[in-house]
């Protein structure tokens, strides 16, 4: 009976994997597996920054674009002065380009470990690289696969990132919230564009 009970359970899992996963508490591997299926995605975002220096948050909007495994672009909508800003993460290199005469700011992970943490948290999450996340962060998944949350806390270098919370369902990310070492927060909600 014992043996057949296991067989039944295995059979059930094999027959209804999605259903089972949707009700059970989600694991990091499940989220990563789902995210790994996404090779290319474009989305609109709205970001609110809550800073100690300011009485009210700053709101920015723009477009996100990700190409597996390690290319991410965040392009803001042109501001009142017509300047749009593009932030690109390519491998371990972060570039901020204002499209003006001034040369773009280029930062690398090796050069600035603090920024490295920020870059790695986003890159590893989007590409579904669970091992890389575990190396640098304390990772706490919660929810189910149909509505999950992932909290990342850097083991070192918490100046620019104290924690990051990524929310989503299945292979889609719907929000990224962060807080830095000074307690300033950013909330970004993401709506994927039709593929």
């Amino acid at each position: 009976m014992k043996l057949s009970g296991q067989t039944v359970l295995v059979g059930l899992l094999a027959a209804l994997p999605v259903h089972a996963a949707q009700t059970a508490p989600v694991t990091l591997d499940q989220i990563m597996t789902a995210l790994r299926t996404v090779k290319h995605v474009e989305a609109r975002y709205i970001e609110h920054r809550y800073l100690h220096a300011l009485r009210s948050p700053i709101e920015t909007r723009g477009t996100l674009r990700f190409d597996a495994p390690a290319h991410l672009e965040k392009t803001s909508d042109p501001a009142a002065n017509g300047v749009a800003e593009r932030l690109t993460i390519d491998g371990d290199r972060l570039t901020i380009d204002r499209g003006t005469a001034a040369s773009p700011i280029v930062l690398t992970l090796h050069e600035h470990p603090e920024i490295g943490v920020l870059v790695e948290s986003i890159r590893a999450t989007l590409s579904g690289d669970g091992d890389a996340l575990r190396r640098s962060f304390d990772v706490t998944p919660s929810g189910t696969i149909s509505e999950w949350q992932l909290v990342l806390q850097p083991r070192t270098q918490q100046g620019l990132l104290r924690w990051m919370r990524v929310s989503g369902y299945a292979e889609r990310i719907t929000a990224i919230d962060t807080q830095d070492g000074e307690g300033d927060r950013s909330e970004m909600s993401i709506v994927e564009l039709p593929r």
Binding site: R49, S76, E111, D184
Partner: protein, 777 residues
């Protein structure tokens, strides 16, 4: 006999005094001695930079051969050791430790250093613009850069200063905080020595300290690579020293071997070297007296003296028959010897006129050396020769050689054809036959130059191609001039005429500029009112900018920035390279990057009369041009003096033509042969001058022999032996890796040999020999 004793006594005294003096003489290996004394202001900048400019003290260090993680750790340990050593003014490897002080200095003096400080910036309208910009910046991706400094520095002066320091470039790549090459194969370090570029002993000591620190930094299998002017200077000195001793020894050995084979007497061999050694000692002492030091290259030239001065003894010994005393030989050959030495002195005296100290030294050394050698041969040597000196028998070999030479006249047409062909090949050459790249004179090998360039690129060290130099009576006026120039140049960046610039006033503004900035800062109470008005309707927290108001108050009443405030920062290094005290005042330099339109720069600085735009590459090439031109005209002058001297002595046009034609053919063919191997250097030119000096001796002996045909075989033998010695002495120099020694050795070895052959062919000893034979039974 008493006259002979007196001569020997004088000789011993002079030699002893010279030896004592030479033993204490400082040997100088500064290549700047080979730069002209009478230089233009631009060239003086170049020479100064060579001698003790900051660039001349930079050592680039690479650690390679192990994984990047390991070499980064070694780099940190090595830097840690060197930072404690007072021989190193700066140790930079990318680690932040060196830059904390820089940031502190910039942060605490930002309102005195920033060139954007104007009173309008602190009005409510000015501040409003600044704050709106800050708000937009906080919402941007790079907002985190501003966030930390916002409250104390809303106008962003610190970011502006850092931007300027970095010159738009991000610096070398890093690994674990340490500079690495773009491919990650090696870690990089930039060291500045306390020792000036001309202090080679100091440089050598510092380099030894680096090697020892590296050995103590647990390097494992890692390799240490060093480059830069101090490394080159030390290597060049070692090389010149070892070449000079090694090659002189080798040349002496070869010459001694040849002489021993002919004379079969160690005593005669030793006597043959007496004139050479005497000439060398007195020559060195004379140069030392005249110039206070002697250059290593002049000393290396000592090897060449062996080549020529040993000839005098060879002529004397070989032309002395077994049954006649040396005095008779001397009486016979003295006119020829004297004329030969005078000819050489004429040729070399042109070098005395050179504005390059190195060449003037060479000239003086050679002239004194030869004069002393010939005097010793004439007056001292006879007293030292043993009474039973047997002379040299006219051997079968001599006769055979003389017979062989009889065929020479048939080749006259051949010599003419050869000389014409050589002249044609020189004239037909498309490129300039003289090398006009200063690198061709450098004792640094192409491989070392390549390594240096690649490290320089990796570490993004300044190459200082364009400099604007301004000379003033004191530091303040020099800084003020630099500020006026800066104001004229900054618009050119936007126009694209230059990509960027670095000026000493970034690190140390003039007192006048600092006072003006302080005057532009408002009183704290005034600032608070303006700030509150500007903040109207903006979402900044109340009281946020209190640190800003306090900082303005501090800067307004604080002391101005002085040179001492920069101590311990890496910025002081940059300041010292751009603001330099000279004996006649202060020199401020503005270095330009990415110059695309030098003429526009020239116009922009025209308003500043004492400012000069210097292109270091063009200037150093122009320097070589001056060098070459002077060399060629001096050589021409020397040649003309030689021809005049010969004409006055020979008093016969056909004889003069025969002598000069032999020499001219030898020179032209030598030049053509050297040109096959590439462009000719300035040192080749002076080698050719030596060919004329030595070759003319051969021709004169042939010429004099018209009066004594019977002695021809013996004279020919003495010339052959003398030439063998010369070719050995100079041929050995051609083995040297030091361009100056190599380039002098080649033409002399080839040219003197050709002189002998051509003189044999053209001056027809054949007929003379036959008549001598006919006279015999």
């Amino acid at each position: 006999v008493t006259a002979r004793r007196v001569a020997i006594l004088i000789w011993i005294t002079v030699i002893a005094a010279s030896a004592l003096f030479v033993a204490r003489l400082q040997i100088d290996t500064d290549m700047a001695a080979f730069l002209p004394r009478s230089a233009s202001p631009a060239q003086r900048v170049l020479v100064d930079q060579f001698r003790d400019g900051v660039v001349s003290r930079l050592v680039l260090v690479a650690i390679e051969g192990v994984p990047t993680d390991k070499s980064a750790a070694i780099s940190k340990r090595l830097a840690g050791q060197l930072r404690g050593n007072p021989d190193f003014v700066a140790v930079e490897n990318g680690e932040d430790s060196g830059f904390e002080r820089d940031r502190d200095f910039l942060w605490s003096n930002r309102y005195l250093l920033s060139d954007r400080i104007e009173s309008t910036l602190f009005t409510r309208a000015g501040l409003r613009g600044v704050l709106e910009h800050d708000l937009a910046e906080l919402g941007s991706a790079s907002g985190f850069l501003l966030k930390q400094t916002l409250a104390a520095d809303p106008t962003g002066e610190m970011l502006h200063l850092i931007d300027q320091q970095q010159g738009g470039g991000a610096g070398p790549a890093r690994h674990d905080g340490v500079w690495v090459s773009p491919d990650g194969d090696r870690t990089l370090m930039l060291l500045r020595l306390r020792a000036a570029g001309s202090d080679i002993d100091g440089a050598q000591q510092s380099l030894a300290a680096i090697r020892s620190a590296f050995a103590h930094a647990d390097p494992g299998t890692a390799r240490l690579v060093m480059t830069g002017p101090p490394v080159f200077a030390v290597a060049a000195r070692d090389r010149i020293r070892s070449d000079a001793t090694r090659l002189s020894a080798l040349a002496s050995l070869l010459v001694a071997g040849a002489l021993l084979a002919v004379y079969r007497s160690p005593r005669v061999l030793a006597l043959a070297f007496v004139p050479v050694v005497s000439g060398g000692l007195v020559g060195i002492a004379t140069v030392g007296l005249a110039f206070r030091t002697i250059h290593g290259i002049t000393l290396g030239f000592g090897a060449t003296l062996i080549g020529e001065a040993v000839d005098y003894a060879v002529y004397l010994f070989t032309q002395t028959a077994p049954d006649s005393p040396v005095e008779r030989t001397l009486e016979r050959i003295w006119p020829t010897l004297r004329l030969g030495v005078l000819t050489s002195i004429c040729g070399f005296s042109a070098m005395l006129l050179s504005s390059f100290e190195g060449f003037a030294q060479l000239g003086l050394f050679t002239i004194t050396g030869l004069a002393v050698a010939v005097c010793v041969t004439r007056w001292v040597l006879p007293g030292l020769i043993p009474a039973r000196f047997a002379g040299v028998r006219q051997s079968q070999t001599m006769l055979r050689i003389a017979t062989l030479a009889t065929g020479g006249r048939h080749l006259r047409a051949g010599v003419v054809v050869l000389a014409v062909a050589a002249a044609a090949s020189l004239a037909a050459g498309k490129s300039n036959i003289w090398a006009d790249d200063l690198n061709s004179l450098s004792p640094v090998s192409p491989a070392e130059q390549h390594l240096d360039q690649s490290l320089r690129r990796d570490v993004q060290a300044p190459d200082a191609a364009y400099l604007i130099v301004v000379r003033q009576t004191d530091q303040e006026t020099a800084l003020e001039a630099a500020e006026r120039l800066n104001a004229a140049l900054v618009p050119l960046i936007r126009q694209g005429a230059i990509a960027g610039l670095d000026t000493p006033t970034r690190y140390l503004p003039s007192l006048a500029a600092q006072r003006a900035r302080q005057a532009a800062l408002p009183a704290p109470a005034v600032l608070q009112v303006e700030l509150d008005a500007a903040l109207e309707g903006l979402p900044f927290q109340p009281g946020l900018f209190a640190p800003f108001v306090a900082a303005i108050g501090g800067a307004r009443s604080g002391p101005p920035v002085s040179r001492a405030d920069l101590d311990g920062t890496s910025l002081s290094l940059r300041l010292d390279s751009l603001l330099v005290p000279r004996e006649d005042g202060w020199v401020a330099m503005i270095s330009l990057r990415g110059v695309t339109a030098p003429e526009v720069v020239g116009q922009a600085i025209a308003s500043e009369p004492s400012a000069v735009l210097v292109n270091l590459k063009v200037e150093s090439d122009r320097l070589l041009g001056v060098y070459l031109q002077e060399g060629i005209s001096l050589a021409g002058l020397g040649a003309a003096a030689i021809v005049l001297l010969l004409a006055a002595n020979l008093r016969s046009l056909p004889r003069l033509i025969a002598v000069t034609a032999s020499l001219a053919a030898a020179v032209v063919v030598t030049l053509a042969v050297l040109h096959l191997g590439g462009q000719l250097s300035i040192f080749n030119l002076f080698g050719v001058l030596l060919v004329v000096a030595i070759g003319s001796n051969y021709c004169l002996f042939f010429d004099r022999q018209r009066d004594d045909p019977g002695g021809m075989p013996r004279v020919l033998a003495s010339l052959l032996l003398a030439n063998l010695c010369t070719v050995a002495g100079f041929g050995v120099l051609a083995l040297s890796h030091t361009p100056v020694l190599h380039d002098l050795g080649m033409p002399v070895a080839i040219g003197t040999f050709l002189s002998l052959i051509f003189a044999t062919i053209i001056m027809s000893p054949v007929r003379i020999f036959r008549s001598a034979n006919a006279a015999k039974p």
